[in-house]
């Protein structure tokens, strides 16, 4: 029975990892940069969900879309104010593209952690549960009601996002920009708009992930740091920029950490992802679904 417990816990954690990692993967796919403030989008979502529910007394089912909205807006604002210079020519003034992205997103991360620390305070806040059933028992299995519902919401969001990217008008444009930014631009696609949509969507996904986990991981200002590190690992494992790769890598990592924590050592649980990452970099550097590429 322990095996089943561990499998379910691993898959649920994997789904939350996926929600975080998809946004990061999309940003890399479109802009070819890593967003070091991605964990703070998660943190802002967790606080937006928790504080709106606690302070305003509204239902968590209203707070959840509110957190999504906050994440979408934050992503949009960050893209317009900080990321647009990446592809608007300003960086040719002497700053390298990669350097600019690292510096600006890293600074944003520190800024967001500190602003929340000063404005909201350093104390932890447990988010409200999505349902009032504290424990659902199925035979010998016990799982918290919130964890189960949150995982189902996360799966639904992932499916909806995957469908949007695959079949919608803007989703196809995002795919095109991801494949070849210049080519998409020549074909008449507004690449700046596609980038803004992706950044906003990534912010929204991370915020929803934070909101869904706010009841389990009691947010503090630095709550996003750890999930962000996991997301970076997942994005590389899945193949940089590959959404399906990120989803599968998330599930693998979640399950591996769950079993490894019991059968290898819990103390080294957070190093398992890094161990797999090293193996991949050695034997399959393009990741699960990435493409081999070489630039000269």
């Amino acid at each position: 029975m322990l095996t089943l417990d561990l499998l379910i816990n691993g898959l649920i954690i994997g789904v939350f990892y996926a929600l975080m990692a998809i946004g990061l993967s999309l940003i890399f796919g479109i802009l070819k940069v890593v967003n070091f403030a991605h964990g703070e989008f998660y943190m802002v979502g967790a606080y937006a969900y928790t504080l709106s529910a606690l302070a305003l007394g509204i239902s968590p089912w209203v707070s959840l879309p509110f957190a999504l909205l906050v994440g979408l807006l934050l992503g949009l604002v960050v893209e317009r104010l900080l990321m647009r210079p990446l592809y608007s020519g300003y960086t040719s003034w002497g700053v390298m593209r990669d350097e600019y992205a690292v510096i600006v997103t890293f600074a944003l991360s520190i800024f967001l952690i500190n602003i929340v620390d000063k404005v909201v305070g350093p104390y932890a806040y447990k988010g409200p549960a999505l349902i009032g059933i504290s424990r659902i028992t199925i035979g010998p299995l016990a799982i918290s009601g919130h964890r189960l519902i949150a995982a189902m919401v996360a799966v639904t969001v992932i499916i909806v996002v995957a469908l949007i990217i695959r079949y919608s008008f803007w989703g196809r444009q995002i795919q095109a920009v991801s494949q070849n930014r210049l080519g998409a631009s020549l074909a008449g696609i507004d690449t700046a708009k596609a980038s803004a949509i992706v950044f906003s969507l990534a912010g929204g996904l991370a915020a929803v992930s934070g909101a869904l986990l706010a009841n389990i991981f009691n947010p503090t200002p630095d709550v996003g740091v750890f999930p962000a590190i996991k997301s970076y690992v997942i994005v590389v494992l899945g193949g940089m920029g590959s959404v399906p790769g990120s989803i599968i890598a998330s599930l693998i990592l979640g399950v591996f950490e769950s079993f490894g924590g019991v059968y290898i050592s819990y103390q080294y649980r957070d190093t398992f992802g890094l161990f797999i990452l090293i193996l991949f970099l050695l034997f399959r550097p393009q990741g699960l679904f990435g493409e081999k590429a070489r630039e000269v």
């Binding site: 350093p122 104390y123 447990k126 964890r147 019991v262 649980r269 957070d270």
Partner: protein
């Protein structure tokens, strides 16, 4: 001319007089290292800051120390050892503080004492429980707060009184957490043979503790001992409850970290802390000396909040520095250390004196730190209403302990 000749010496004499009075009025600078931002325990940092400020106000309102006011200079360590080291270095070299105090996390204290020892500056550890802090044998370091060996003995005695056969501890991956978990094992082996004990180390930064909890479902222990600071401690309690491991009729929770008086405790744990036993360094029903009552009243007037253990520990830390300077009539390190070594002074929690036994954790430790055990008997219960099940200096009273049904 005569007036000019008379004028210069008068001016110089006046300048000296002014300088002398200015020196007399110069504040005594005391360095404070606390966590004011994550990932350190900001809850603790805030409580320590409040305690130091209440004490400083009491001292300064009474005319200061030997005519000088106390000035507190804060540095944020974030609970990170490297930052604590840099903070103490800055306080000593740039701010020229006469002593350092306030530290409330063992890892940060262990880094800070190295610098204080190098510069030979008194370091009054407010709340670093790790025994290693005193085991270093640094003459500058004094500990009027709690210490891991004392908690370990209390835990072992409590497990014996509870009749536990199988005990599992979850500790955070810090000097404090792992150190205490090991000491509890040693004390159980010495005082309560027959109890099976093991501990699991959890990462403070990680949030999913289920892989460590799930194996307990098949064979739950009699007691789960929690050795973590918030928010990790809150998450652990919630996940134990979520899986039905504890609290149950079979399994009790024992909080060895004293988290039940944190201001964010109830918002974060809810019914996951039902019937939890708490190792407590302060309970409103504990007898307090007059100074303790004064500090408690001033704190409540200032913050509208209920007093907590760190308030008293922090206040005592600063009072001790003031007492040392007053007794020594000097702010020189050697004089202050000598004064502290011989001190017998009634603080906020009782009569403080420091052990001179040079080997092990007892060196410069106040050995008789008072403690109690109390039990959470209802959700959202204020500490004052939590049930005292062990009075200071007495064994656990099993007739008062409530079991989960």
């Amino acid at each position: 001319m005569p007036s000019r000749r008379f004028g210069l010496p008068t001016f110089v004499a006046g300048l000296f007089a002014f300088s002398a009075s200015a020196f007399a009025a110069d504040p005594i600078k005391v360095g404070v290292t606390i966590a004011q931002s994550p990932p350190g325990s900001v809850s603790q940092g805030t409580q320590v800051k409040d305690g130091l400020e209440v004490a400083a106000k009491i001292i300064n309102d009474a005319g200061g120390v030997n005519g000088s006011k106390i000035e507190l200079i804060y540095e944020d360590t974030q609970g990170i050892p490297e930052k604590a080291r840099a903070a103490v270095e800055k306080l000593i070299t740039r701010d020229q503080v006469v002593a350092v105090t306030g530290e409330h996390q063992s890892s940060a204290a262990l880094a800070g004492i190295e610098v204080a020892h190098r510069y030979h500056v008194p370091y009054i550890n407010t709340n670093g429980w790790s025994d290693v802090i005193r085991e270093k044998g640094y003459p500058e370091v004094f500990n009027p707060g709690n210490y891991n060996s004392r908690v370990a003995i209390a835990v072992a005695e409590t497990m014996k009184s509870l009749g536990a056969k199988n005990v599992v501890a979850f500790c955070e991956n810090t000097d404090y957490g792992v150190g205490l978990a090991k000491l509890i094992g040693a004390q159980i082996a010495e005082r309560a043979q027959g109890i099976s004990y093991k501990y699991e180390t959890l990462d403070r930064a990680s949030k999913d503790y289920l892989p460590a909890i799930l194996p307990l479902k098949a064979n739950p222990p009699d007691v789960v001992v929690e050795i973590m600071l918030p928010p990790g401690a809150y998450i652990l309690l919630n996940q134990l409850n979520e899986q039905g491991v504890a609290p149950t009729a079979k399994t009790m929770i024992y909080d060895a970290s004293g988290i039940a008086d944190y201001p964010d405790f109830w918002q974060n744990v809810g019914d996951a802390a039902k019937n939890m036993l708490v190792f407590g360094l302060y309970h409103p029903k504990m007898p307090l000396p007059d100074l303790g009552k004064k500090v408690a009243a001033d704190y409540t007037a200032k913050t509208k909040g209920d007093p907590n253990r760190l308030l008293f520990q922090a206040a005592d830390s600063l009072f001790l520095i003031a007492e040392a300077i007053k007794t020594a009539k000097s702010t020189k390190a050697d004089d202050m250390i000598k004064a502290l070594e011989g001190i017998k002074w009634t603080g906020t929690r009782g009569e403080v004196s420091f052990s001179s036994e040079k080997s092990g954790f007892k060196y410069h430790q106040w050995l008789d730190v008072p403690y109690v055990t109390f039990q959470v008997t209802a959700v959202k219960q204020p500490v004052a209403d939590m049930k005292l099940v062990q009075d200071p200096g007495k064994p656990l009273d099993m007739s008062r302990v409530e079991k989960t049904k």
